[in-house]
Amino acid sequence: MAAVYKSLSKSAKKVEDTENDNNTTTTNGGFRKNKQRVLILSSRGVTYRHRHLLNDLAAMLPHGRKDVKFDSKSKLYQLNELAELYNCNNVMFFEARKGKDLYMWFSKVPNGPTVKFHAQNLHTMEELHFTGNCLKGSRPLLSFDLAFEQEPHYRVIKEVFLQMFGVPQGARKSKPFIDHVMSFSIADGKIWVRNYEIREVEKAKGEKDSEGNDIVPESDKSSSKKRKGAPNAELKDTDVSLVEIGPRFVLTPIIIQEGAFGGPIIYENKRFISPNQVRSELRKAKATRHNTRVEQVKERLGKLETLTAQAKKEKDVLDTRELFA
């Protein structure tokens, strides 16, 4: 079915291309083709949740290549070679620390940049019982917050997301329809990632059939021309609604390196607190109670000691009590 559709749509596309020559020139000559391949892999020591998130993301990226766990956490530059081996120009690396913290490295491979995130609030598709669903490998619409345009480091991050999560046009396993939105929003200094299904809400039932018939078998010129007029009418009648699919996660940017897993750090988030520090603060706060108690005991014992010492102190010969006893 898919193959049949592909062939049909290809022919339709050809027709369209010939139709408007201006467009084709720009598409072929004006900009280079968007070729992206993402190497998706994790370090050792990931939890099941990290692993499931990785699987979810891998399922969403038809241009992704999942690889086995990477052994090292310190020699990340080896990932560059690995990516080259697999013909990938993006690396999405999940680094798990202490079996609980997840750091995500997003890197453009040959020459950077690299963005390191701390991932929190991970919820995989399976555990979120959302009703949304979409085609596997369909190209998502990428929705970015306006805040992504306001700071240079966010612009870099946006571009990285765009190239990693955006399925390039004509990717090998991609599907021809657009039925989900990935949204990236910035709130509280963190990037919140959501994935929604686009559901068309029809007002009249007849509309849907006509649309379906219109769009799919587009083999001759006349129908494609007709369709061009049609969408406006359709737009008025149908509306879109969103149903969440999942997964959900929140990324805190930590650093941006200029190179791929190396190079000078061109951005460092000073608002980021390492989870280790957070935990230690918590522990310290808890420890204070005990510490104060111990201190009190010490103080009391000290006092007692001084008192006894005073009592034991040898009596002065010239003390009035001694003299007049």
Partner: protein, 436 residues
């Protein structure tokens, strides 16, 4: 150091690295340091992530950035200079700058260290940067900017001695933008939307989130952003003639397997049924409660009936006493019975009440004797310990007054004003008796 290989890249990286490195130095007040028993040198700690400090930090950053920049430059410039000796057009202005820079170089050990680190990092970076080719004029521009800054900043170099270690907050905007330019896709209006399919929202999402902890509002804001994008994206794609909606007869593998969707469905159904069941249960409970009310009402009604019949009987009895003369006991009783029957038949009770009326025990409650006894001796309940103290009574000291205690009067009583006349003596009593 492989000079030959890294030579060409040097200027670009240096520019990026040093352009706007902000060093934030937090100078702790002297007092605090003494308290901690450290040497009263200026100790610079890691800046905790607190927004309050930002203002302060930024002020200091302005001072320190300039200094550090000045320190970093010379070493790198030297390298660049030695490189340029081998001769390349790009590097010529570097050479010129060097002379100016050497003057500004200071020679404290720390600074050396810092510089070495920085340059080492630079070298490492260069390894990965070979592939990144920049246009030469861009590099030149950046270099020039650097140099200008350096010349100004070099004079302040001496103050840096005070700084031992600083946490860097780096936001190298120039570097970021260059990096962005290097790998960014063209997403302008010139390319078709289907090429990138990315939409930047019209407004900042964070503004529509009242509180980050408010899950509902936050998710709604995210969703609105995505919804807007979906609408815009759909319109754009339609305009470009890219198929958007999946036709109903197009089947393909979905992102979430049928199995998962089945699970989701099952979960939904389960939830729905649970809701239904709970609603049912609540209904039942309400009914039960209502049933109880009905029962109570019935009992009350019965009691009322009982009362009514009794009253009527009493009334009849009275009538009997008043009207009828003593006409033989038997006859009278028969008549009474009939009268009672008649009366009861006329009343609302009908059969039931009549039956009860006759049946003394059930109808009229306990008999008179019993009622009397109940009134006199009480009825039911435990009587033992009824008068003994309990926690409440023993805790009640309202009857106690210290004044009374001290007055020496008889315990429990106030000083009696009207004592009953003391008992007369025996003789007087006898005399009294005699009188009587």
């Amino acid at each position: 150091m492989p000079r030959q290989s890294t030579r060409t890249k040097k200027p670009a990286t240096k520019a990026l690295e040093a352009e706007k490195i902000e060093k934030i130095v937090e100078e702790k007040p002297q007092k605090e340091q003494k308290k901690r028993g450290r040497k009263p040198k200026q100790v610079v700690e890691e800046t905790p992530v607190e927004d309050k400090m930002d203002v302060e930090e930024e002020q200091k950053a302005e001072e320190t950035t300039t200094q550090t920049k000045a320190d970093e430059k010379p070493e790198q410039q030297e390298e660049a200079g030695s490189d340029s000796e081998e001769g390349s057009d790009d590097e010529e202005d570097n050479d010129l700058d060097l002379d100016a820079l050497d003057e500004s170089d200071s020679d404290s050990e720390f600074e050396r260290d810092l510089n070495e680190k920085q340059s080492a990092a630079g070298i490492q970076a260069n390894k990965y940067q070979k592939a990144a080719e920049e246009s030469s004029d861009e590099e030149e521009d950046e270099d020039e900017i650097d140099i200008d800054e350096l010349d100004v900043d070099g004079e302040e170099g001496e103050e840096v001695k005070a700084i031992s270690r600083a946490r860097q907050t780096i936001n190298n905007k120039q570097g970021l933008l260059t990096a962005l330019k290097r790998f960014a896709l063209d997403t302008t209006d010139k390319v078709p939307f289907a090429f990138h399919q990315s939409i930047v929202a019209k407004k900042v999402t964070e503004e529509s989130i009242p509180s980050i902890d408010d899950d509902l509002a936050r998710e709604l804001a995210f969703m609105n952003q995505a919804l807007e994008a979906a609408r815009v994206g759909r319109a754009l794609l339609r305009k470009e003639g890219v198929p958007f909606t999946r036709p109903t007869d197009y089947f393909a593998e979905t992102l979430r397997s049928d199995e998962t969707m089945e699970k989701v469905k099952a979960k939904l159904i389960e939830e729905a049924t649970a809701k239904k069941a709970s609603a049912e249960a609540r209904k039942q409970r309400d009914l039960k409660k209502f049933g109880k009310q009905v029962q109570v009402a019935k009992q009350q009604e019965r009691a009322k009936q009982k009362r009514d019949t009794l009253e009527k009987i009493n009334l009849l009895k009275k009538k009997r006493k008043d009207g009828g003369g003593p006409t033989g006991a038997n006859e009278a009783e028969d008549l009474f019975d009939v009268a009672v029957d008649n009366e009861l038949k006329g009343g609302p009770g009908g059969n039931n009440s009549k039956k009860r009326g006759r049946d003394g025990k059930e109808g009229g409650g306990p008999n008179a004797k019993r009622q009397r006894k109940d009134a006199k001796f009480g009825f039911g309940g435990k009587k033992k310990y009824a008068k003994s103290n309990d926690a409440l009574s023993s805790g009640d000291v309202s009857g106690f007054s210290a004044r009374k205690m001290k007055s020496g009067g008889p315990a429990g009583g106030k000083p009696k004003k009207f004592k009953p006349a003391p008992r007369p003596g025996k003789a007087r009593r006898k005399a009294g008796a005699g009188k009587r």
